[in-house]
Structure formats: structure tokens, C-alpha cells
Symmetry: D3
Subunit: 237 residues, 6 copies
């Protein structure tokens, strides 16, 4: 029995509201249940040094949590003087995931930075950030295409992510915080719109899992991502 009463394979309600800030080239507020992440895509006509002159573009991401997005107040990272290990790990994952859906030659020598800031957290913030981040990216790229700055669509597919885990001995989809903090095994699956895999991260803290369970979790994830991709398509339509 899940704390929320959901079925084992039941996602939380997903909503994606676009155009939520007037400055960013693309933006959305994604809600996965009580997890709310503000995603913006910012376009810059410059690239990191290591690809300068290559004709290729770059997509990168940054992640943050507002201090009181969580149940007890967290210390502000700007105050602490550095981004914590978890933050760095997450923003590297978001950037890597989004780039997997991008044709960097088609994008041309420009950079898009996707900022994902958690307004309210209830588990699964990194998956929400990837899923919402793709929507912001899509909208920014649409703007580029409309302006005629790129001719071939640089986005080859949607990119979406969902968490899975083993809670109370059973594989479950889309963990919320009460599940996440109890689950001995949990992780994230990032996929393209056609279910090709980009990233699989399954990790046990205080437990282990079998190859058969891994397979079950993968099945749940495929179903979950399918729903998210649908929501993405509706949002940018």
C-alpha cells in the first residue's frame, strides 16, 4: 500500500504550464503532484571554449532548490559558498539528458542554458526538471526556428524522465517524498520519446536488488515516460 493510496504503477497528476516568465526564451512550471519546478531556457549567442569554432551548439543545465522548497529549511547554497555534491550531480544529469535529444550541428554555434529551480519539493525533482526542462528548451528552439536562425529542427525527440523504486518490497512508479525517504532502492530512467534509453541510474542505499527486479522497474518506467511525453506534446502544441 502506497502512502498516497496510488496504485503501484500510477503516476501523480502532471501539469505543465508554459510561458510563466516574460524574460526567458522558453519557460514552464511543471507540477508532478506536489513537486513544482520552474524551468527556463536562456539563449546565448556564444558557446563554451571547448567547442568554439566547431559549428556545433551546446545545451547545459543548472539546478537549484529554494531554501524553503523542503519540509525543513535548507541552507541557501549561495550562502554556503558552493553548490553541494547532490546539486552538481543533478545538474550534470539534466544537461547530459537534454543533450541526448539535440542535434548540436543543427543548433549551430549557440548555447541554451536550462535553469531548473525547485519551488516546492515532494520527491522526484530531478525527473520533473528534465521533463519540464525539455519543454522550456523546445519553446526556446521554436523561437529560434521562427526567427529563421536555425533551419533544421535541432530537437530530434522529446526527453523525459521518471523515477522508480522498490518500496515496501514492491516495485513502484514515480515516488513521492514519503516513499523516496523509505525506499531502499530507487533511481531514475531518462528516455527519448521513442523509449530509447539515455540514462539509467538505479541505486540502493540500505538494500540490494536483483536483475529480475531491474527488469520490472524498467517496464514501469517505460509506461511512465510515455505519459510524460504525452503531457510534453500537449504543452508545446
Amino acid at each position: 500500500m502506497r502512502p498516497s493510496g496510488r496504485d503501484l504503477s500510477e503516476m501523480r497528476a502532471v501539469s505543465i504550464e508554459t510561458g510563466v516568465t516574460k524574460h526567458a526564451e522558453g519557460s514552464c512550471l511543471i507540477r508532478m503532484g506536489d513537486t513544482h519546478v520552474l524551468c527556463t531556457a536562456s539563449l546565448e549567442e556564444r558557446v563554451p571554449p571547448f567547442i568554439k569554432g566547431s559549428g556545433q551548439g551546446w545545451v547545459t543545465a543548472e539546478y537549484g532548490m529554494l531554501p524553503r522548497s523542503t519540509s525543513s529549511r535548507m541552507r541557501r547554497e549561495a550562502q554556503a559558498g558552493k553548490q553541494g555534491g547532490r546539486t552538481v550531480e543533478i545538474q550534470r544529469l539534466i544537461g547530459r539528458s537534454l543533450r541526448a535529444g539535440v542535434d548540436r550541428n543543427a543548433l549551430g554555434e549557440r548555447q541554451i542554458t536550462v535553469d531548473c529551480d525547485v519551488i516546492q519539493a515532494d520527491g522526484g525533482t530531478r525527473c520533473a526538471a528534465i521533463t519540464g526542462g525539455w519543454v522550456a528548451l523546445r519553446l526556446a528552439v521554436n523561437k529560434l526556428m521562427k526567427a529563421g536562425d536555425v533551419s533544421t529542427d535541432p530537437l530530434v525527440s522529446e526527453v523525459a524522465a521518471v523515477s522508480c523504486g522498490i518500496y515496501a518490497g514492491q516495485p513502484v512508479l514515480d515516488l513521492d517524498y514519503p516513499e523516496d525517504s523509505e525506499a531502499g532502492v530507487d533511481g531514475n530512467f531518462v528516455m527519448l520519446g521513442d523509449k530509447r534509453l539515455i540514462e539509467v541510474q538505479m541505486s540502493a542505499e540500505g538494500g540490494t536488488f536483483s536483475r529480475a527486479q531491474m527488469d520490472e522497474l524498467m517496464g514501469l518506467a517505460e509506461a511512465g515516460v510515455a505519459q510524460l511525453v504525452e503531457a510534453q506534446r500537449a504543452a508545446v502544441a
Copy 2:
């Protein structure tokens, strides 16, 4: 003539939405025109070392801007490894201002941290942060009182702030970004609900001002704060 077409003494539309995040003891989203600031008040049953054992409480504030709250993307301070000078200056001002409306003995030995995070910026973010921050603080204190943790109301008055400046040679109220970036003289007035002054900061960059102009600006500010206090009262009613 103001870029927005407003009269010299006309404020932007103000709205204060409360209860916008489920974790914080008090929260609101304040909108002053296109400036949107999310304010949360977090209660902790501990105080800073310098008042431990004094029986008095503490109210402090932190301020941040989301990277793409501005017209071009700003570097994330957590990434830069420290809060910039402007951030530090602003959060010290917010904390000092809010404390002026607090009876710290009545609060008792506990700390309330008010976080003000700018979601979208269009001038006057620090004033919006003070005005909205007070609403979050009020809601958190209400919770304390309802729970019977404090008996005497520790909030002696509303605290609100408005900016004024000299734009195109004329004193104006509540500057937006296009005005703010042009004004040779501008500043902030922080007042209690009864118009007693808490903080006056008037500053010239590329201009100066006379004692008579200072007096005119003060008059505008009194009128502006009166409107803000009304909005605060409505929000927490």
C-alpha cells in the same frame, strides 16, 4: 512622461497571493507590476549565538534572484561561490526593516527566517521583498499564536517599502526597470503602518538632489506605503 504611461504618483498594480507553498509556516507571492517575488517565512526553535539565553527572538532575511528573473541571464550565485555585494546589502536591509516591526521579547527565543526569491524582476525587487516578506512573517506568527506558543502579538505594526526617484527631472513613485536604469537619483523608504520611518536610502548615481526634492520624495513615499499597507491588510485578513 513615464515609459509606462503612469502618473508621477501612480503605483503599479499590487497583488499578494498567500499560502503559495505547502512547507513554509508563512508564504506569499507578491506582484508589483511585472516584479514577482516569492516570500516564505520559516520558523526555527533556535536563535543565533549572540542572543542565546536572552529570552529574545530574531528575525532575519535572505534574498536571491533566479538566474533568468532578469532580461539577460545572470550567473547563479551558488555557482559563483558567493553572494554578491548587492545581494548582501539587500538582505541586510530586509532583515533590519522587518525587525523594526517586531517585539523580540514577545516573540520569545525563536528565529524566523524570511526568504525572498525574485521569480521575475522589473525594478523595485527589494521593496517588494520587504512588503511581501512582512506578509509571510505575519502568517507565520499567526500560526505561532494560534498554537499558543506566543501570547502577546510580537508584530507591533506592518512594515512596507516603496521606491522613489527623480526621473527625467521629476519626482516619481514606484520605479519600474526602465525608469530605474535611467534615474539619476533613486532610493527606498521603509515605514511602519503608521508612517513612522524605519529606513531612508536615497542615492544619486550621476546626479544630485536638493533638500526640497528630498522632501517631495518623502511625500510620495508616504502615499505609496499607505496603499501597500492596505494591500497587506487585505492579504492577511
Copy 3:
């Protein structure tokens, strides 16, 4: 009754000794009673990136306190690994204030850095830093003019600052440390030689003030600045 026995509108003894270090283009040691600040102006033939190529110059300031300039030893900021919030706030104020008296086109594309280091502190260090900093700046600019590097005098007026506050219920001028640490309301007024205002910062910690009191303080400040400007003129004559 003031701890020092001074009248409410009585300044401390001011002395400004110039030429106190052989390396700086301009320098002075300003003493406001027991507050002693060493000010140097350093000329560099380069400007910050944001005005490169504009033909305009820049004046900036830095502020520091020797560890034992205060009653109990303070931690050295170089040791702590960063400048504290108060330091950053003060040096931004000094730079902004001094620039208000500078015609940056007349200065030409060069930078003058004014360093203000507190040797001994007894209240009012930021005001002493501004007043003494202007003297160092004046001397450095004189050198430039004598060398024929600038033809029109880039300094349009003196810049001086004085503190005021409400001590024991009464408005007083030029607070020393015992007053400063008790005053519920205090602040700084920065003016040009002709009394035009550059910066007004009046702040209450544990008290508030009325519009009438604000006006009284402004009157005291005008009288105080007049004396400081006289001392500046004598020092650079």
C-alpha cells in the same frame, strides 16, 4: 548629555594630514576624534571592462579595518576568506559617493582606486573614509593635471560625509562609538561642497523616527558637512 560632553551639534576635532605615504599618487590620514583612517588614491591607466572604449574614467573604493583598530580584535578578512557584508556595503557607498563629484569624461579613460584603511576606530569610519578619500583623490587628480594628462578638472566639487542620529531621544551630530552603539536611529549624509545631496541613509535598529526628526537631522548634517569641506579645502590648498 553626550558621553563625550559635546554639544548636540558639535563635531569632533577634525585633522587631515596629507602626503603620508610615498608610493600613492594621493594620500592622507584623516582623524575625526579617535577615528583614524588612512586614505590613498592609486592611479591606473586602465578601466573596468564595462566602460572600455567609452572615453570615460572610473573611480572606485575599497575599505578595510586593521584587526586591532577596534576595542576587541576582529578577525582579519583576508584570513576569513572574504569581505564581510558590512565591508562590501561601505566600500560600495564610498565609491558611489566619490563618483558623484567626478566628471568622468574629463577624467578620461583611467581608473583611480581609493583605499580607505581604518587604523583606529571610534565610530563614523565610513564618513571619515569618504571625507578623507576625497582629499586623496583631489591630490592624485592634481598630479594628473600638473603632468598635463588631463586638461579640464574632473572634480566638480568636494564630497564629504557626516553621521547623525537620535541619541537618548535627541538628534546629535557626528556620533562616536559609545553613541553609535546606543543610538536607535542613525545614518549618514553625503553631500557635495554646495550642500546638494548625494546619499542619505538613515536607519533604525530598535526604534523609528518621524518625518520631522528626519528634517532636523538633515539640518545638523548640513552644518557638519560645511565644516568638513572647510577642512578639506585647507588640507589640499
Copy 4:
């Protein structure tokens, strides 16, 4: 065809030399081909604050690379002033992996820090660090048991890790640097001695992979880990 001429499922030569430093409670130098990692386990009779008084122990890990362990010299992280994102990610993985094989109640309230320093790098350093780190941990725990400080063996199983990836279209085991830098898909599998999974990290940069390929990689990994566990057992026998 692999650059090294190895078969698709062929591991590099593994050697584990124990007792390589006289100070550490446990130590080894693990060589996976040209990847050489020095692992030490340091015992401390204290635990991190969050488990103080719980009766449980803690195992943590740190990771570093000597500046010239790589083909071109890397900047020393102590010089750069912080550990990079990759370092932080890796050392969190090592710690999490090793803890999965530890009964923290049996360990008792003490901490073991496993340091993994790369002397020479040729791909797969994090897997070598986990595999060698476990050997150092085993030796340190042996010392504890011999001294009678713990009675029940806190190590419930071996922990070992191997990398897999898709190189030139084919699933391969134990990637070296020339493969690693070309592979569009690669990752790491961490398992207990009985093949239960602890961590699966499969990641695509410039490619994607199917569920069937994921399954194939898992098979390779199981075979690889089996060999590593054998080497671990021989080393600590």
C-alpha cells in the same frame, strides 16, 4: 575490434597488492591494466553528527587523481580550491557502494574512510576504486575483529564494480581509455559478491541504447564482477 585486441567480454589483467603503506589500517594498490589506484582505509573512533549516539557506524570515501595520472596534466584540485563535479559524483558513488556491503550495527559507532587516489589512469578508475576500496576496507575490518573491537563481521559481502559500454556498435566489458572516450554509451555496475545489484549507472553521451542492449550489458557485467570478486578473495585470503 577493440583497440587493445581484447575480446568483447575480456577483462584487463587485474592485480591487487595489499599492505602498500605502513600507516593505514588497510591498504592496497589495485591495477586494472594501466589503471592504478591506491586505496587506503582509515579507522576513526568517531562518527558524523547525524548518527551520533545511534550505535551505528559509517563508511565514507574520498577520491582524487594525481595531477599527472592522466595523459595531459590536470589542475590539482587543492589548487583550484574545490573538488570538481566529477570528483564529488565519484566519491559519493564509492561511499554508497561500499556501505551497501556493510552491516552498520555490527560495525559499531566508528567511521572508516576509504581514500582512493589514482596514480595512473587508463579508464575505469571509479570501478577500480570501488573494487580496491573494498579490499582496503576488508583489511581494516579484519584488524578491528582481530583486536576484538567488533565481534560480528560487519562486512556482509564483497562489493565490486565493472564498467561496460557500447563501443563501435558492440557491447564490451571493462573499457579502457581509448574505448571510453569513443563509446557513445557507457556505465558502471556495482554488485555484491552474490551478484545482487547495488548500483546501475548507464549513460549515453551522443547516442542511445535499447532495453535489449541494457540486458546484454548486464550479462557482461555479471561475468566481469565474478572475476573481480575472485581477485578480491585471493588478495585478502
Copy 5:
């Protein structure tokens, strides 16, 4: 021929002015020619953790240079976010040197911090800092003794330092900046009042020196220190 016209074994004029700041327990301004260093000794009734409970005291030192103490302006270390290597090296030397003249049991469990801040630099700042630092320390200890807080004098001897080097092929005493920047070999000798050695640091950058030259330099240093000790005694008499 020395740039200053001094004889090979001729010191610069030394002056030591005591009591230069009202807050510190001991203070002096030492001038060795154009090198001016402000030294203060601050007494605290606490010791570093590593000697807590030992009954012994501690003497430590910190060193800094005002940004424009030098011919061209140096970056402020508080701004740079850390003390540079040279600063750290120097302050460790000053602390170690002063401790050599202290009976830490007689001092009792308290700490004296000697701050040495260079107001104007012309070579030999670290030697001036040691020599002046001892005077500040002596005055602070006198205060302790007068107050009856220590009964046996904890200062067993004077501590003084002088620089020597090989300039234009000849051993010279007390190098000023023009010599220092040219000398291929130079260093510092720290001695007690009875000429016992505490520290010898002789270093070649772009040259070498023989054992015979080393001996000659040591002779010069002994004569130089004798003069400094005389000046110290006069200052504290």
C-alpha cells in the same frame, strides 16, 4: 656601491614609536628607513584547541600589506578571497620567531596575537615586523605583569631580525627594495638578544653562494641585530 650610498654593513635609520593605537594592549610603529610597519599585540583569555588545558600560553602572528604600501597597488587579499603564499609564509615565520623568546608556561593559558601591517614597504618588511612585533608583545606582557596576571616574566629575551644578501657580488646588510629586487641571494636572520640563532633563511633566486659567504653574512647579521636590540630596549624602557 649601494643605491642608497650606504656602507656594506650600514643599517638604515631605525625608529620605534610606541603606544600608537589606543585599543591594543601593546603597539608600535617601526620604521626601518622607508619601511613602516604598524605592530599591535592583542591579548585574549583563550588558547587554541591543541593546548587547551595544558596551562601553557600561545603567541601567534598575522601579517598584511595595505594595498598601496607598495610602488604599484597590490590586490587586497580580503578581496582575492585568500592570503597569498608569501603572506602565509611570513606570518608563520613571525609567530615562530616570537615564540622562541617566550616561556609559554610563565605566560599561562592565554593567547597574544601580534598583527603586523605594512603601511609603507621598501624591503625587509618581515624583519621589521619581527623586531617591531616583539616590542608590541613586550608592552602587552608588561601590562599583564603590572596587573598581576602573570608573576614570572614570560619573555626570556628580545627577538629581532635583519636581512642580508649578496648584492653586486658583495655581502650587504639590511637590504632596501632596490637591492632586494636585484640581489641573487638574500635572506633573514632571526636572533635572541644574546645572538643565539632562532631562524636562518638564506635563499638564492638566480645565483648560488658558498659556505664562506654564508659565514660572512652571518657576521653582518650579528652586528645588525645588536643595533636593533638596542633600539628595542630604548623603546620599551
Copy 6:
């Protein structure tokens, strides 16, 4: 009587193993008894800004200790966020010492960075680092010469270093850790192959020494360096 049973003038066994890492242009593992330091020399075809365009080369050094190279685990400097004062002091010494044996014009505009990482520490690590660092440097320069990139040998002599001190009242050569931690006086002598001096650092913590003792120590050092130079020559032959 020395703890190790060695004679007063007896060095520990020295061994220098070359070619210990495949990536570096030059490398060795030097063992002075139980002190083991890994030294690598890395060649880069660029120089620091201050000699760009001068035609001269640069040799610099960095130093580190593995966290468990010492008896109790040290905090990793990359973790602490900066190199400690001791580290900075040592690496400046190594760089300065090695440069004394280099003809920087003959080297040409390129930089060699010598990294010295302590694998196991038992006293005298900085001396071992200099002695082993020179071997790594020699091997890297040999490579440059063989490739015809430099024609005149830029290394004018060997550079080697040994520690001496006064232990239990007697001058001793090559202190190990038990001696080092007890000796009231100790230091390092760096010399060229022909015994010309490069650096003398003799320092007392809790003791002093006479000019006669200084001379005795210098004699011991000359004999010690002669043995080290022999070992260097054998290693690079």
C-alpha cells in the same frame, strides 16, 4: 642515541626508481627510508604570463600529501578548499630550488611542472621531493634534448636537499619523523652538485642554536647531499 639506531651522520637508505608512470615526461619514486614521494615532470609548451615573449622557460613545482600518507589521516586539501600554509611554503621552496639548477634561456619558452606527491611520510618529505623532483626534471629534459627541441642542456647541475637538526643535544643528519617531532632545531639545506648553496633554512621551535652549531650542521649537510647526488646520477645514468 637515535631512535633508529643510526649514527649521527648516517643517512637512511635511499632508492630512486625511475619511469614509474606512463604518462609523465619524467617520473620517479624516491624512497628515503619510509618516506616515499612520487615525482613527475610535465612538459607544457607555454609559460606563465610574466615571461611570455622573453625566450626563457620556467620550472615550477606542486606538492601534496595523500590523506593517509601520515600516521593519522589528514584532511584532503581539495576537500578543505585550499592548500594549507605548510603546503604552499614547501612547493614554493621546491620550485625555487629546482630553478637554481636550470639555465632558463637554454630551456626556451616552455614550462616544466614538477609534481611531488607524498605516498608515505616519515620525515624529510620536502627534501625527498627536491631530490626526486630533480630526477624527474632531468628525465623530462633528456626527452626534450633527444627530440632535438633544445640543443644546449638547460640543467647546469644536480639539485639535492637534506635535512639536519639538533636532536637530544647533538647535530644529526637526515631526521626521520620520531626525531623531527622531538628536535628543537631543524632545517634543510639545498645544494647544487658542486656543494654551492641554494637555500639554507634552519629553524628553532622551542630551542635556539649557536653559530658554531650552525657550522657543524652545514658540514653534515654537505656529506649528505654528496650521497644523494650520487644516487641521482646512478638513477638517470
